[in-house]
Each structure stands twice: as structure tokens, then as C-alpha cells.
């Protein structure tokens, strides 16, 4: 597995097709213009994972966030010696936002359930224009809100 820069990877037409697909299907890019997407993709890299490969590992220290371009992943967490599945994510979903924003260790493991094409974005977004950065962080806030609504719903029925 190796990560390659998006900019060097595709020819212009492929790149444009990718952009349209991203803006339509990826929650974290919702409301982005093509220009804003291009800005963000300067920080992005792409990689392929085989089935069963672990993409992030619970308690490791890295701060990228990941976007699924193709494939399906499972999010799991260790409890004593058991592995508990928390969620399955698909094309257009993202994960790893938590460590990206708070710089803490990974709270869960993410494993490829099928061959996956992933995009990753680093936490250093200083080069973004404030308008783009605001949209990006607002989308991340919405994604985390959505997850917290689900988690607290599930939790409250088990307390």
C-alpha cells in the first residue's frame, strides 16, 4: 500500500470526473464548489487497500481523515478481549475525523471488508481559504453530530 498525491495521479479529465463525484457523494464535501474542492485536494492522497487490510488501528497516533471512494469498511473497538463492531461505512462516507480535529489517539480500528479505494486528508489545513475551511469544519461538525445522535440514542436504551 502506498499513498500517492491526487494531483500527480490523474489526468485532467479524470480529475474533473473525480471532483464531480466527490462533490455529489461525499458528505464532508457537501456544498463545495469545484474550486474549493481543488483547494482541499491539494492536501489529499489516494491509496488502495486489499480486503481485510487495517486502515487505521485503535490507539495509534495519526491524524489523517479518510474518505471512501470505493468499497466498504467496518469500524470496530476492543472491549476486554472482544472486538465489537460499531459501524459499517460505504462510498461517500468518511472516518478518522475525530483524531484529525482533536489530535488524540484513534478511538477505533477500521478494516477493509472489500477492496477499497481511499482518499486521505492531513490535519494541516492552514493553506485553505477561511470560507473553504469553514465549510469543511461545519461538515465535519455535522457528521460528528449525526454519529453522536445515533450513539447516544443507542446508549440511552442500554443504561
Amino acid at each position: 500500500m502506498s499513498w500517492i498525491k491526487i494531483k500527480e495521479d490523474n489526468n485532467t479529465q479524470d480529475q474533473q470526473r473525480l471532483m464531480v463525484k466527490l462533490a455529489e457523494r461525499v458528505k464532508v464535501f457537501k456544498g463545495f464548489t469545484t474550486g474549493e474542492l481543488a483547494e482541499l485536494l491539494c492536501n489529499a492522497q489516494k491509496s488502495i487497500f486489499a480486503t481485510d487490510a487495517s486502515i487505521i488501528k485503535e490507539e495509534s497516533a495519526c491524524t489523517h481523515m479518510y474518505i471512501i471512494l470505493e468499497g466498504e469498511v467496518a469500524v470496530t473497538k476492543k472491549v476486554m478481549k472482544r472486538k465489537v463492531e460499531l459501524a459499517r461505512l460505504h462510498v461517500g462516507d468518511s472516518f478518522g475525523e475525530m483524531s484529525m480535529v482533536d489530535n488524540n489517539l484513534r478511538s477505533a480500528t477500521v478494516i477493509a471488508l472489500s477492496p477499497c479505494v481511499m482518499l486521505r486528508i492531513g490535519s494541516d489545513l492552514m493553506n485553505l481559504r477561511p470560507e473553504t475551511a469553514m465549510k469543511f469544519y461545519r461538515n465535519i461538525t455535522k457528521i460528528l453530530t449525526d454519529r453522536l445522535r445515533k450513539t447516544s440514542d443507542q446508549l440511552v436504551w442500554r443504561i
Binding site: 472491549v79 460499531l86 475525523e97 477561511p130 461545519r138 461538525t141 450513539t151 447516544s152 440511552v156 442500554r158
Partner: protein, 158 residues
Amino acid sequence: MWTNIHDEFKSLEQQRLMTKLAGYVKALNGLTPAELAELLSHAQKCTFAVGATIIKEGSNCHHMYIIIEGEVVVSKKGAKGKAELARLKTADSFGEMALADRKFRCATVTALSPCILIRVGDEAMANRPETGMKIYRNISRVLSERLRVSSDQLAWRI
């Protein structure tokens, strides 16, 4: 009754107090004094008595609240009636979720002591992308922290 902070904020003393307090509020971390002043000029202040409901689960309002003074309890309807999810104190914030996604309130927040709160809506950030970026980044940190706790709790119960 909510009153605009704008008027109070004109006094230098009040201004200093707010700036000092904001230093402890995670949601306002990293704002410059000018950004903070601008934000607070859109904010409103209110006092709540012990036992008063500040936000109600299922209701449709979208402010975020910051506790200036007092303590609140966050609870949610569950299998065995009302379950307590958290207690929050001075400089903590709540209501960020509905601010972000404009959906219904997912929990009830009740005053445990007399409380002074300020509330902010997202219109305060509409024309200020620098401020908006910082606040949403801060809020996503606050939510991450909460999500880490609640997914830990949940994983143990699955």
C-alpha cells in the same frame, strides 16, 4: 427572558469579564478579542432558576449555549425513563449539535443551580468565515471528546 449582550458589552468591565471567561470556553478557543466582541454582539444572556428547563428533547430550536455561571444536567429518555448523560459547569457549552445540523434537540438540559447563560445562533458566523471556521473546528473537538466517551460506554454494553 433573553436580553442582548450588546448593550452590556459596552461597559469596559463587562468586556474584560467576557474576554477572560472566553479563555476557558472550549467552543471559543483561539478567537481574537475582535472576533469575540463581534460574536458576543450577536449573543444574548439569560438567567434560569433551579429546576428550569433550558432545552427540551425533541424541540426545534438551534442556539448553542455557554454556561457563565451555574450547573446543568443533560438527560435523555431511555428504556428506564430519564437517563442522565452528563453534568456541565461554568465555561462548558451545550446545544452545538442542533446549531450544526438544525435538527431536533436530542436531549433535555435542566438547571441544577441558578444559572447565567449566553446563547449564540449561527447567524453570528454567517458573514465571518474566519470566526466560523474557528468555532466549527472547536465544536468538532468538543463533539469528538463526547463521542469518544459515549462510544466507549456503548462498546461495553454491546
